[in-house]
Symmetry: D2
Amino acid sequence: MKKIGIVGATGYTGVELLRILATHPDIEITYVTSRSNVGMRVDDMFPNLRGFIDLEFSDPDTDALAKCDLVFFATPNGVAMQHVPALLKAGTKVIDLAADFRIKDVELWSEWYNMKHACPDLLAEAVYGLPELNRSAIKSANLVANPGCYPTSVILGLLPLVKSSTIDLKNIIADTKSGVSGAGKGANVATLFSEMGESFKAYNVAGHRHQPEIAQTLSVLADTHVDLTFVPHLLPIIRGIHATLYAKPIQNAKPVKNAKQTEKQDWQALFEETYKDEPFVDVLPAGSHPETRSVKSSNMCRIAIHEVSQNSQLVILSVIDNLVKGAAGQAVQNMNLMLHLEETTALNQPALLP
Amino acid sequence: MKKIGIVGATGYTGVELLRILATHPDIEITYVTSRSNVGMRVDDMFPNLRGFIDLEFSDPDTDALAKCDLVFFATPNGVAMQHVPALLKAGTKVIDLAADFRIKDVELWSEWYNMKHACPDLLAEAVYGLPELNRSAIKSANLVANPGCYPTSVILGLLPLVKSSTIDLKNIIADTKSGVSGAGKGANVATLFSEMGESFKAYNVAGHRHQPEIAQTLSVLADTHVDLTFVPHLLPIIRGIHATLYAKPIQNAKPVKNAKQTEKQDWQALFEETYKDEPFVDVLPAGSHPETRSVKSSNMCRIAIHEVSQNSQLVILSVIDNLVKGAAGQAVQNMNLMLHLEETTALNQPALLP
Amino acid sequence: MKKIGIVGATGYTGVELLRILATHPDIEITYVTSRSNVGMRVDDMFPNLRGFIDLEFSDPDTDALAKCDLVFFATPNGVAMQHVPALLKAGTKVIDLAADFRIKDVELWSEWYNMKHACPDLLAEAVYGLPELNRSAIKSANLVANPGCYPTSVILGLLPLVKSSTIDLKNIIADTKSGVSGAGKGANVATLFSEMGESFKAYNVAGHRHQPEIAQTLSVLADTHVDLTFVPHLLPIIRGIHATLYAKPIQNAKPVKNAKQTEKQDWQALFEETYKDEPFVDVLPAGSHPETRSVKSSNMCRIAIHEVSQNSQLVILSVIDNLVKGAAGQAVQNMNLMLHLEETTALNQPALLP
Amino acid sequence: MKKIGIVGATGYTGVELLRILATHPDIEITYVTSRSNVGMRVDDMFPNLRGFIDLEFSDPDTDALAKCDLVFFATPNGVAMQHVPALLKAGTKVIDLAADFRIKDVELWSEWYNMKHACPDLLAEAVYGLPELNRSAIKSANLVANPGCYPTSVILGLLPLVKSSTIDLKNIIADTKSGVSGAGKGANVATLFSEMGESFKAYNVAGHRHQPEIAQTLSVLADTHVDLTFVPHLLPIIRGIHATLYAKPIQNAKPVKNAKQTEKQDWQALFEETYKDEPFVDVLPAGSHPETRSVKSSNMCRIAIHEVSQNSQLVILSVIDNLVKGAAGQAVQNMNLMLHLEETTALNQPALLP
């Protein structure tokens, strides 16, 4: 049984980690921290865990955490980087669910996150924890930067196209919509029920932190600079992200996939082929419209690809549960890889529908 | 591996049965029926089941069903009773999630359900499938009537009081609130999103079919006629029932439970004692207010008991997920008992929160 | 044109006052205060008011407020009582939408509101602003205590019964459900979208501040002490209160209303008669189930009365929009009365449905 | 007092027309039809109208309708065209809220609406009822085709750009999101509360009837063929449309508007100038993100324009209430123009927020 610690377990990502790990047969949660709730029983805060988690919140003590095999940081940005060097030195593996190790360019990071990085030398070592992209690197990593929720949905939706060099990299639009839990559990007027209910809006059109994260990942994949227009919106649902992605096929590109042996690109086949061995990416039948509820509570990403208007526009629809594949579920998938456990353990459940 | 059939698997109860059974290690779903969707893949209708259920809907054929060890009927009222006699004769056990076998008095049943019963002689044999009440009978039953959703929440909330003869049986009020999925998946203007959203109402104040079901069960428990006022309401949520139960303590009754050795009844201790060995009833600490979301997707019933206004009024709060403990989860619990499997198999998961 | 001031206009009650008053032909809003937003345009905070309210938030200055004919306090409890003596002295009428002047017994008030009252001598002078009860007193009042939202729905639902002495005053239960906007616009984890959505719960079962307010009002009406069990719940909707009220008819009481000349009480006729001249109480046809959405955005209270279980139980269903008849709308109704304007001005609009 | 008839008043558009017209001082609703509810009181179906509409549903009789000055058709596609010729002949003006007269090309219309047009000769005469585009034509029209909900939000968001020839007409994307009431009040599994709640999805990516309507209108405006990619989504809210529009500025185009006298286009000034005299289009301050709730229940369209990524991408955000500016409100605006009443009568109300 591997010993697992969770730092900052009182937010939505934290409770979701606890929910998923509660039934994981190969690990044991030994240490759960919350600076402001020391001594409180975890299941007093989260009654859904009654009977599953018999622990109290502790102070985030590095020595205690260092006794774990792996520690998750489900903390605000800027916290993990304070503890990671000591933990790595002690031989404890780390998965940061915040953004401290997602951006390789430390100046770009500082610009978007408004702080100085505490351990820039670790940025190169950190592996971006998207298994569909970096599985083998994750398996041998000591430090994994768990991807953002929007980036997970957008990158998985674009990956087959960028990798196959079949779309115009200067003309990508990601119109994304997220459930409110993505905004966290902080006391905040803007995310009150009476503010978010029965309404919908875009936000941060001028710039969102997940844009450089997506651009960096796609650029590595394309081996050239990829920019994209990224517009996030807030949905009046608790869980779920829906990315609607617009891309232009490169004219006269040689078809990568073409099941019917014609000159036309077979986008459906390209996507199916790309993901055929992935346990948590599901390419839907041609013509489908994935619903966010089809992945609620599950680690699955479901994708549909449409070509509209006589080949001039690709529309990709990609849905995830922002707290699962967009956060805690993907983190557990990474943990399984890092600890050389079966990758799907504790994650292989049908979504809750309705 | 036990062979399991599901008749009428296209409604909310049906898909929930499939979701729960999908990961059950001791059974195999071999036959799933839907008269109007014969030949359609189950996961084409329910994309959350992609990768879990590799079956097509079949016609409800009695011979095919008779090859199963156990068959669930997740059908409208009046369907199960047409098939049950043949299945029982063939040695196949049956759990009816509808109301055909819940009411022992066939005339009362006909009055509330507006039809003639097809096999009244089986009513006596059918066991009311509330494990907290009838566990040993369920274990040896061939035919189980799975309780209604409201009755499950109400009976579990009142059972310790009725059993201990500590409340006035002529003065019980059940003010109950249910999520919309309880109304089923039929095309119906009244349950459209735009009708149910951002609103709340009572319905059937003059009489609801679950009232006689509750009254019958409590009367057996009390060994005298129990009536109660039952008022259902529709909540703008998908899953969840909250029962707010009002009862008057009998004055001068001898305390059944009294942890502090005084003359006063210790209601909290009474509830905790009653349910101390139950895997799916959780008595919350004194002063609690259970939320429906604390049981969403789970088979748990959470209960809190309050005494207000100087001993003159008990208020019991009882929450379940109407599709799980109120339907499919309880049915699987009953199946486990009937097939002599571990009672909690496939049901032992934390609720989804938030 | 009467000059109107609003103190504390940044909460939900404040913006609702502004919305309703924006089209009132006989008044002019001259002064709107918010201590923490001085200098900000009102319509920068509330874009729905763009083109309707051309004002900035000011500091709550007593001299400036005293230039108004009438001032609304849409402030937290304990604020109005600091300003009211000076305003009354200056000849400015006041409507407090908070609780400072609702409870006549100053000790009881202090017990429930945890503070010392700043002007207990004004409690006797303050009129409880329920027009259906105190219309003539309101017309000549200088200080009106606008009723709480729950009390408005509960008192209007019970008034015909209490006034006619036809129910057992020791056996009243008010099971009430409120939309989340009733909890206000403060930054609060408990009322976040992700906490309130897709869930339902009771709260404050042990005691809620509106219980003594209701009990006081009913006691005056009955001319004897009335207690009641009051259990509030939180609904996942923004606006709306639904009160489900349970009362026991007094056996052998002489029928007050009996359209059919029999010995049986005609409850429907009693309610219709009581409210026949009220512009904002609508008694629905017998057998109805009012929906909260049928009063959304409107100042109407809709009521239905049911008698169930062979005369032994009355169930009254009463719905209001908590921000309108439960707060700002009723306050404007009171203002109209106090300023001798037509009572229904600016309030006579159909509810928004769906 | 002008006499007004409404054909098909039982859907959401119908009840919204009744709500708005209920307080209109210059008209009188004299005839309201519903084939399947003849004889039923209108306020029995819509309790929000109790006290406002004292009418019963009648059969849609042409002679009776011809006594009206103006008739609204709030009917399914294909109904209005059966009655319009007779009504026009009788001198009764008509506004069709469905799509019978929106598309000028009768073959294109038949292709999208799957029926033969009953009076193709009237298509040329019908005026597309977007007052911001066709005000003077509407004033003298006898037959107005009320625009679709999506088209209203999209066209108003693009009009200043298309009119000024400043964007690439081959590269427009409209990512649109609508509340569920847009799908109507028919009994339909797909729009049940339990299907739509807590979820989000795109639909009709391959093609939606509103695409040709938008393309036709923009093409007339641009005097050249405009195509656009149109992707609709369903939001779990009742009312509201949010259009997120993506357009590419033409490089080196001469700035139309440039408040700061530089070479750069001033998009904000362009939008403000275009709509400065419009009563129902509100250009928000630069940097804004309009929320759908800021127009709930109101006839306003609120728009914000953003330029992102170094001039290479314009993002326009446009919100309306689909039942008001997207249907019944715009229809009343058209009625006011056609009957030479004040354009804003009965429509000049702040939105309901929260």
